[in-house]
């Protein structure tokens, strides 16, 4: 009796220790994120002021602002989502509304899964060979946007599919039963309730495109431009590439540290705020669906 009592206590203690370890691994994520954000925030906040946001770099990029990189990142990520969102939503509509399971659908799905796994630098190579050279777009906003669009396409497709799946099947059946065609059903019944949820994909796509460096390295981003871009065929400076260049290849790495921290903080703010917004939006919508069904 006493033996089994002891054994049970030991088993409970083992469980306590094991759960403690699991708790620690999970909490480590939180610590890592908070530490990361705090470190950049503390070091970067002093660099950010109006001049930093609104002026051109000066004196071989050791002084002045980062306006061209902010605009470059804005153009690139908006351009990317402008291309990727319609295609992503279209693909999701086909997969979820038209297609019956078969060879073609399986191929599309496997293709998207594999596309999501392609290394970012390989997207850069593809963009260089296809958009920059073959399509003769040159190193430009348009070439970078198209490369980024390909990069974020799997993400947009995924979230759009999720949004479509959340629309109850009964609504489609009811619409079809009333004599509406499939397209009328999609357009009038399925898309309206799915659209807000698709917005999360849109926001996540913008944020992912804004933060990526490797796909734009050979297709759009340059070390320095003297002017703001005036055409989609201009090369641009971009925030992620700017951080990379200043931190590794700047003329004076230590003297531009404040600019590096400042740019990193701004980029981090943009990406984290967009992500948080998307997460909150999705959680809200999920709750709405749950309560409505």
């Amino acid at each position: 009796m006493l033996g089994s009592e002891n054994r049970n206590r030991r088993r409970r203690n083992i469980q306590k220790v094991a759960f403690g370890i699991l708790w620690a691994t999970a909490t480590l994520n939180l610590l890592a994120l908070v530490g990361f954000l705090l470190f950049i925030a503390v070091n970067g906040i002093s660099a950010i002021n109006w001049e930093f946001l609104s002026e051109m770099p000066r004196n071989a990029m050791t002084e002045g602002g980062i306006l061209p990189t902010i605009l470059g990142t804005l153009y690139l990520s908006l351009g990317a989502i402008l291309v990727a969102f319609p295609i992503g939503v279209g693909t999701a509509i086909y997969l979820n509304e038209f297609a019956r399971d078969g060879f073609w659908v399986r191929m599309i799905r496997q293709g998207v899964v594999n596309l999501a796994g392609v290394p970012s630098v390989v997207y850069g190579l593809f963009g260089l060979a296809f958009f920059v050279i073959i399509m003769k777009l040159g190193v430009s906003i348009i070439a970078g946007s198209l490369t980024l669009a390909a990069f974020i396409l799997p993400l947009v497709i995924g979230s759009a599919e999720e949004a479509l799946r959340a629309v109850p099947r009964n609504m489609r059946l009811a619409s079809l039963a009333l004599g509406a065609t499939r397209w009328q059903t999609i357009y009038r019944v399925v898309l309206p309730p799915a659209l807000p949820s698709m917005l999360t994909g849109l926001i996540l796509g913008i944020s992912r495109a804004a933060g990526e460096t490797a796909p734009i390295m050979f297709t759009a981003a340059v070390f320095s431009t003297a002017k703001l871009p005036t055409s989609i065929f201009d090369e641009v400076m971009a925030m992620p590439y700017h951080i990379y260049v200043l931190a590794t290849s700047g003329t004076n790495i230590e003297e531009t540290r404040h600019l590096q921290y400042g740019t990193a903080l701004l980029l981090l703010l943009i990406v984290v705020v967009l992500n948080l917004f998307a997460i909150l939006l999705r959680n809200r919508l999920q709750k709405r669906y749950k309560s409505s069904t």
């Binding site: 071989a60 070390f223 320095s224 003297a226 005036t230 055409s231 989609i232 290849s249 003329t251």
Partner: protein, 272 residues
């Protein structure tokens, strides 16, 4: 489908708006990030005298600069190295004749941490350090410490000059750290007492100890008169013999009292 057409029309007109016309007074300069500071300073000074001319200057790397000239995407390509055979061939295929202009000289200087007692090397010793046959500072008169050799990335123009003149074609030992820029080497050498690296002469500062090589002190004068052994010429390339605004600008850059002053202000060695 009327909606689609309308959308397409809007999109096309949008593109047309975005694509600004290239007007006569605009020059695009593209290429090496080593030459970039010179051209940034020169274009700034030039626009003070010629406000009607506007520039787009972009640092994209020597290869990209030469490619841009061959493809007709840039008026002037900056390069820290001489044009390669494959690029000449490419230009020939495109029906382009590439014209080179030397704009400045650059001395490349071996540097160590100021605490390192070694202040001077022979070119044979330097070659040995980089090809891996010398691995300890005591072999060249220093402390008994392992040598941490640091080099520029193998694709950079600076690396090419180093290999040709210091290593005389030997391979850089694979244990050598490869860093992407002069700035990165400055940082690595200032933070490591056992390190040796090499930087452009404009990057020397008081946290670095430049080394004498075969008794020659690195300076603007020794680079210009050719006695400093590790030097190179910085180039710009144009698509055929320059005309109009491009010619005027290149003449300005080469002028001893104008463009060459800008060269001096950026730490490089002027031609004259």
């Amino acid at each position: 489908m009327k909606g689609l057409k309308k959308l397409a029309a809007v999109a096309i007109s949008g593109c047309a708006l975005l694509a600004s016309p290239v007007f006569a007074g605009q020059l695009s300069v593209n290429g090496s990030t080593t030459v970039l500071p010179i051209m940034q300073a020169a274009t700034e000074a030039y626009t003070n005298d010629n406000p009607e001319t506007t520039f787009s200057v972009a640092g994209t790397g020597s290869g990209n600069g030469i490619r841009a000239v061959i493809d007709g995407m840039a008026d002037i390509g900056m390069s820290s190295r001489w044009i390669k055979d494959s690029e000449v061939k490419q230009a020939h295929e495109n029906g382009v004749y590439i014209v080179p202009f030397a704009v400045a000289s650059d001395g490349i200087v071996p540097v160590v941490h100021p605490d390192n007692p070694v202040k001077e090397l022979t070119s044979e010793q330097l070659r040995g350090i980089y090809n891996g046959s010398i691995t300890n500072w005591k072999e060249v008169g220093g402390e008994d410490k392992r040598i941490v050799s640091i080099s520029r990335d193998s694709s950079s123009g600076t690396y090419g000059v180093w290999v040709d003149t210091v290593l005389k074609g030997d391979r850089v030992s694979p244990t050598t750290q490869l860093l992407p820029s002069n700035g990165a080497i400055v940082q690595a050498v200032t933070s490591n007492r056992n390190a040796i690296g090499y930087v452009g002469i404009g990057y020397l500062n008081d946290k670095l100890q430049p080394l004498k090589l075969d008794g020659v002190e690195p300076s603007h004068d020794t680079v210009r008169d050719g006695s400093w052994p590790v030097a190179r010429t910085l180039w710009v390339f144009t698509n055929n013999w320059p005309q109009g605004e491009t010619l005027k600008f290149i003449q300005y850059v080469l002028h001893p009292e104008k463009g060459q002053k800008a060269v001096e202000s950026t730490g490089y060695v002027p031609l004259y």
